[in-house]
């Protein structure tokens, strides 16, 4: 139950808005962080907290693409396939990933480590091709970096190749 575990946080969130329902996205984020995906129980609980009906929560969850209604792998790899990344090789990147992981977009590896998705523009068109893995961005991805990232993740659960704050143009071109 979110209500018990995150009592203060929920109170804090609610206090930011004059209308309870506004807290819906923040609470869904809380639920997704807690369980990796938004469970039915969480949707019902959130409806109760916000005094709306479960269908009103559900319709919102399904509108936003970042909420998962089913469990995803431990690492959710989301490759930007919009035009700008497409121009600099996102299809190739996707190809590598498919080959390395043995899955197509929408699928999860049998060990439940990786889920592969394609997404639309993530606002790093100047540093493409790029992908987001869980919360982190990985930019200017090359074949060799894909291998390192996957290995890092498997081994350490994280990778030093993830992006820090926005790469400034002066640094552009010089590989990290």
């Amino acid at each position: 139950m979110l209500r018990e575990k995150y009592k203060d946080e929920i109170e804090q969130i609610l206090s930011r808005y004059p209308v309870r329902r506004s807290a819906l996205l923040p609470l869904l984020w809380l639920a997704q962080t807690e369980e990796e995906y938004v469970t039915e129980a969480a949707m019902k609980e959130i409806a109760g907290i916000l005094r709306i009906t479960p269908p009103q929560v559900y319709e919102v969850v399904t509108f936003y693409t970042m909420f998962n209604l089913r469990p995803v792998g431990k690492f959710h790899i989301q490759v930007c396939k919009s035009l700008m990344c497409g121009l600099v090789g996102s299809d190739v990147l996707l190809g590598w990933l498919q080959a390395r992981l043995g899955i197509s977009p929408g699928q999860t590896t049998p060990d439940r480590l990786f889920t592969l998705s394609t997404v639309e523009c993530l606002a790093s068109c100047g540093t493409g091709p790029m992908m987001q893995i869980n919360d982190e961005y990985y930019e200017r991805v090359t074949e060799e970096r894909v291998d390192r990232i996957l290995a890092d993740l498997k081994r350490d659960g994280t990778s030093p190749l993830k992006s820090g704050p926005f790469i400034l143009p002066q640094l552009a071109g010089s590989e990290k």
Partner: protein, 909 residues
Amino acid sequence: MATTTTETVRLTIDGVPVTVPKGTLVIEAARQMGVMIPHFCYHPKLKPDANCRMCLVEIERMPKLQTSCSTPVAEGMVVHTATTVVNEAHKSVLEFILANHPLDCPVCDQGGRCDLQDFSHEYTPTTSRFLEVKRVFPKEYFSALIETQMNRCVQCLRCVRYCDEVMDVKALAPSGRGTMTEIKHFTTHQLDCEFCGGCVQICPVGAITSRLDLYEFRPWMLKRADTVCTYCGDGCHITIQTKGNDLIEVNSAHGAGRNNGDLCARGFFGYHATTHPDRLQSPLLRRNGELVPATWEEALEFVAETCIALKLKHGPDAFAGLIASRCTNEDLYVFQKFMRLVIGTNRIDGSARYGHINGVRALRRVQGTHRWTVAFEDIVGAEVLLLVGTNITETNPITGLKVKEAVKKYNATLLTIEALVPAIGTISNIANLSAHHFSVHPERFGNVVLGLIKAVVEGGLVAQTLTQRAPAYVEAISQTLRAIPWETLESVTGATSQALMEAARAFVAARRAVVLVGQGVLRTPGGFGVATNLLDLLLLTGKHDRPGCGLAPLAEENNDQGAVEMGALAEFLPGPSDLDDRAARERLAGLWKEELPQRPGATLMQILGDARAGNVKALFVVGENPIGSLPRAAQAKEALERLELLVCQELFLTDTARLAHVVLPACSYAEKDGTFTNTEGHVQAVRHAIDPIGESRPDWEILSALSVLMGYPIEYGDAKEILKEIRNLIPGYGLLGPAPATPRSDEAVVERYLREGYAEDVGARYQLTGAGSFDMAQPATSSAESDRRDAGKVKDGLQLTLVVGQTLFHSGKLSTRAKGLMEVQNAGSLGLNPSDADRIGVTDGDRVRLVNQAGEMTTSVRRLDRVPEGMAVFPEHFDEEARRLLTVSVDPVTQVPYCKSAKVRIERL
């Protein structure tokens, strides 16, 4: 409605000048002059959403085409609805809408009455340029009553908006986005909602349909009859569609009737009750202890002969009659005339006795009317609404919609006094919309009313004029209330004096205030007194004679009000006039050319008592079912078993009919003509939709036939002739316009009440009822605060108040025969507050035992947030076992039997 504006705007549509009220939408202005602008998402009941983009028009001096459904008129506006550009736009939008729409009209239930089909014929070529793959939604089971065909959806969201804006249910979720948006409920769960059918009715295409009539028909095959629903006192207009003698579906057109086309589950899905296979097909006569089929002649002759013999032997007051309010005015009128003239007794009563009479008697006593002084329009137009003891959505759903409209659309302030607590669920709960909600023990609503009145008199809110007009009256009330300290009041209501004061102020501040009082008050002890006190509240605040203000008792059965007006009750002659009203008696005698019986009437409980004592020998029962309605403690069965003649006119073999000597098959409302009078006093026409089932006959006709055999013929050619006679007695009856002309209160009666009438019982009425605050859930063992917390340990269960009441899906005496309604609810379960459920360690579906001195029952549990702690609710339509636990008390003034609650101990099985 809250701001009635008379400001108008002039504009030109297609070259024709028009003047419409300010704020009118262009699409409506056009409609008013006969120009139909094509549209899908627009519906006059809903806020414009302008999503379909179909209704584009050209408005001069605006750069782009505008959606006429969302654009209000403006002075001097010049609108074109049919230029080449506009036609082109309509065509192209339609082309988009059709792109993903399947071409399955031949198998679609909407075929023949589909907006999309109609507009397509008008605008599009027969071949589509869309060569691509149409979207396909995997078929999912939506619910037992409502089915979706999402491939056909045009995403106008009318269903979703209706469910939210009008019904306040919010059960439909548009899930996903873009073309793949799909109307669902909650994840993969099947629809769980009020099943009002509104989404089915408002869908402009065939995407949401009723399962009851899936694939049964094509619209043009159907015959239609416009009539009135019989499931509650709201009196909704319905159109029954039939094929042969089969009922295919029921709907109600937007704008039709007092319901404006809105219906509830009972109205929309309950129509199959009349054609249930158990309907009685022929008269039954008891032979050798068994009820066996007989001919009409045999049955009627038997009744007539027995009656004549019994009357000779015991006199007319050995007879009595009971009639159900689901009968038409014509039935009710002929019934009382039959009893009074042919039999010669006033000993008749009917289902209004179960509660409605309390409201009527209070109105007559204080203001000299027997009807509301307000109409539905006044509810919608009210600035403040006070709801007392009514879970209005479940008892009077459409009156409830008027309340919702007032609050949601016109920002009225809602005050509620109800046992149920606010809780968002799949059935709307009026308390959710309340500005001040007082949750109180179901038998103590009156205490909160006292609190409000105390706040009025002690907060200096009494109307000046009244203080001058009736100082003694004001003083008497004030004085009695002063004797009740706020602390005591707070402890017995759980409401703070501050909250009561705020509510009182809101009530006083409003120019238009309507008080709705429901079965929660009218059917519980003290109901008559509380209704009277509510009139005091209106008097004290100077509102009783203000336009748009008044007390509105909610009728439970569809023709409770008609039963009163037809004089089919112990204390009334038609009119209604009091039994001892000389002038009325004379007028009636003149018209009937016959003297009226002099002796007093008898109410339901008196009749049963007399039958038990052996003083009533013969009983006519028309549609009533005392055995099935009253708790065992009322000993109805024992009473009826002693009768020498029990005649039942019925649709089904009820518990009561099983005991009868003669059972006569009667027609349902769907097979007869006549009129009903709804809760607000609106008289409406009932029209037959199908031929009588089996050999059944209208109730009045049966009585008429009997009268002939008994030698006092009261004969009529048809129902209209009866109505004509009624009109002679009650001027204007049945001649009312689209909105009923509401009566004004009779100032002479008010004056008398203020001078002396109030004094009869002011001391008694202004007393608190019950002790202790609302939270009365107590472990049966005295010691156990710790037990309460630890659910598993409450071995001896909890002490609770059991309340049996109506639910949204069942009302009246026929709903359990409707297959549609039985799909939604076919058994009773005990609604418990989750905390109480935890205390005894039960969850949904677990079984519990309820025990008290009177008996015990077992049932399963449903946790319901809306049920307050300390209370348990059970649906009265499945309460056969529960009735064993209930006790009966009788109102000393109005003789209403109160039998809807009991103290019980609950324990887990």
